[in-house]
Symmetry: C2
Subunit: 123 residues, 2 copies
DNA sequence: TGTATATGTGCACATTCATGCACGCGTCAA
DNA sequence: TTGACGCGTGCATGAATGTGCACATATACA
């Protein structure tokens, strides 16, 4: 039972277009990388210690080193961190620039929804 | 093996402060609501159809109505949608305003990380 | 060349979570 | 008051995923 389901909503076209744009940007893969508490902890470690290799990151966390390695792969696929190999070590670094661009794109499309999707604000 | 681990990094204090601020904002609960493809579909339905009740949303998706109901609860706890009961119906609506504020807060803290956490940009 | 170190991966296990069905509760209509 | 409708929840099941151990690979050092 949708409001105005029987009448032709003048904003239906823009709603559909907005939905299409949001669908392209709201990547579940990206958010999945951020929904795991341990991965959040890894991000915090990278902020505190800066560019570090797998062993150094794992030292700061209770999980096994192999687990941290896997989480770092997920973060890399999500575009949150970037890896660079130097000899035996693989250094990981927070890619704040890419994340900022990602969030800016989402925020831009989200602002376009404000006139369409804002609930009544009893403030 | 962290870079500059032996020397006192002049930005270590600001790094710690930045990590603390990020830790408060990067809520896994919020991202968990967005990492499920079905919940993304629900968001798209709410954009297309606007404020709708559970049954109307479930009509647009293959999952059972009870499943949609549970997903909507997760979205509500994450602050993505807001619910309002009217008689037998419970209407859900995308809270774009709250989401925009959420993303703006994250983006603000993320921009503060740019001078600290940017990888070398070979562009 | 041989050894130690750093990392990733296969495997098994435990936990979390999405899913659908059945049922109970609350509300509206007759 | 009785029946129909909308919604949420308990329960069981299967899939996805986090976790740790053992092992293989690659690289640096003596």
């Amino acid at each position: 039972m949708t409001q105005n389901s029987t009448t032709i909503d003048s904003s239906s076209m823009s709603r559909q277009a907005a939905a299409d744009k949001i669908a392209r940007i709201l990547d579940a893969q990206f958010f999945r990388a951020l929904c795991e508490p341990v991965r959040i902890e890894i991000i915090l470690v990278l902020i505190r210690k800066g560019r570090s290799d797998v062993g150094a990151i794992a030292e700061e966390l209770p999980q096994d080193r192999s687990v941290i390695s896997r989480h770092l792969q997920v973060l890399e696929r999500g575009g949150i961190v970037c890896a660079s190999q130097e000899g035996r070590h693989v250094f990981y670094e927070l890619d704040a620039s890419a994340s900022v661009q990602r969030f800016e794109a989402i925020l831009g499309q989200l602002r376009a929804l404000l006139p369409l999707c804002c609930p009544a604000k009893p403030r």
